[in-house]
Symmetry: C2
Subunit: 224 residues, 2 copies
């Protein structure tokens, strides 16, 4: 690996490009220009070219980017060129939504095991899986070798689950619980917080309403 | 309003502080120092003080911050000092998870109506609500006056739903569909993308595994 560490905003944009490319691929599109990419991703063509230049030369002048070629490159960069198994902890509503989420497979992501501590749930089917006892997570992951874990349990249980995931060998955690997790330095956490997102929107929603009701607008396009 | 527009990273951190403060309030804690805030939020005490200084003077030297006082201030800044009704579109798995999410109320957020276009679902109960026909969204929101909307429908339907939400008066959209939405300038969108988050984690998870297996580590703390 001669690549240096890729900054997180670049990784985030690569994931967006990948989604656009997979959609294009499914639609039978073989090449995309950086302008078309801008149209579909909402990220400027200049930024797109800059992000890719980080990894070497892609695309041909006047021809554009090979959709399948670029998919392979981005998958390799994001380590999605081979299937990534994921451990899911929490067989509740969010867990159900995740197990039923149709787009994982296109990204080579696969929920490989689901765990809960509720004895009523353990042993029951959950999507294509069977709910396993959280106490067995280390043992189960010795087989699977997953490095990614998802926490979909209530806030009060999330830290304990994070500790168990780390002990089981997970180094990347997607956390749905509204709490801050403490993890060792080598473990990365990404938080999905509905409340945080809605709180940010709340501010803007009311601000915009105030603007629309008489004060200066931000000079945006006309509303629909 | 003499406040200037608050930058998004500040709003995101305010939402995190609010969560910590609401937890502290529930635990009966009356004051918090900025160091305690750092411990609970994962955000440095210096950043916390800087974020607050943006809005005036808070806290007393040697005494710390009044939990309830600061809750009120942040709620006011985030426009969560009165209840914010939300329109939810999509009565599927993600919608169920949201309707069952226990922490909305503490943030004065309330899913006020849920819509779907599936005639089998329309009229059925969904949490405490009844699923309404998406065709009636404008009419229903004329009563409710919600400015926030949540899109929890498949990607191919998301743009159409966004257009309907905007038409119904929504100016802030939380989008769970893996697609980029086009909205007028005055509308804010926040995307929740499991795939994007997992793709970013995937990169780091494999990188860390490479480091742990022989190469130089990042000089982090010792693992647990």
């Amino acid at each position: 690996m001669t690549e240096t560490r890729v900054p997180i905003p670049t990784l985030e944009r690569l994931a967006i490009y990948l989604r656009v490319l997979l959609d294009a691929h499914e639609a039978g599109i073989q090449t995309l220009s950086s302008q078309e990419m801008e149209q579909h991703s909402g990220i400027s063509a200049a930024q797109f070219r800059k992000d890719l230049s980080y990894f070497g030369e892609f695309g041909k002048p006047g021809v554009g980017y090979s959709v399948s070629g670029l998919i392979h490159c981005i998958e390799r960069i994001l380590r999605l060129d081979e299937e990534q198994p994921i451990l899911l902890v929490g067989a509740g509503n969010i867990g159900s939504a995740l197990v039923g989420y149709p787009n994982f497979r296109a990204h080579r992501l696969r929920i490989a095991a689901v765990f809960d501590n509720n004895f009523v749930k353990i042993g029951r089917p959950f999507g294509d899986l069977m709910i396993e006892d959280i106490a067995r997570i280390k043992e189960v992951n010795a087989e699977i070798g997953a490095r990614l874990g998802i926490i979909a349990v209530p806030a009060h249980a999330a830290q304990e689950v994070a500790d168990l995931l780390v002990e089981a060998g997970v180094t990347g955690i997607l956390n749905f619980a509204p709490t801050i997790l403490r993890v060792p330095e080598h473990v990365h956490v990404r938080n999905v917080s509905f409340l945080q997102e809605l709180a940010v929107l709340s501010y803007h929603a009311v601000e915009e309403a105030l603007c629309v009701n008489g004060q200066a607008t931000r000079g945006g396009k006309d509303g629909v």
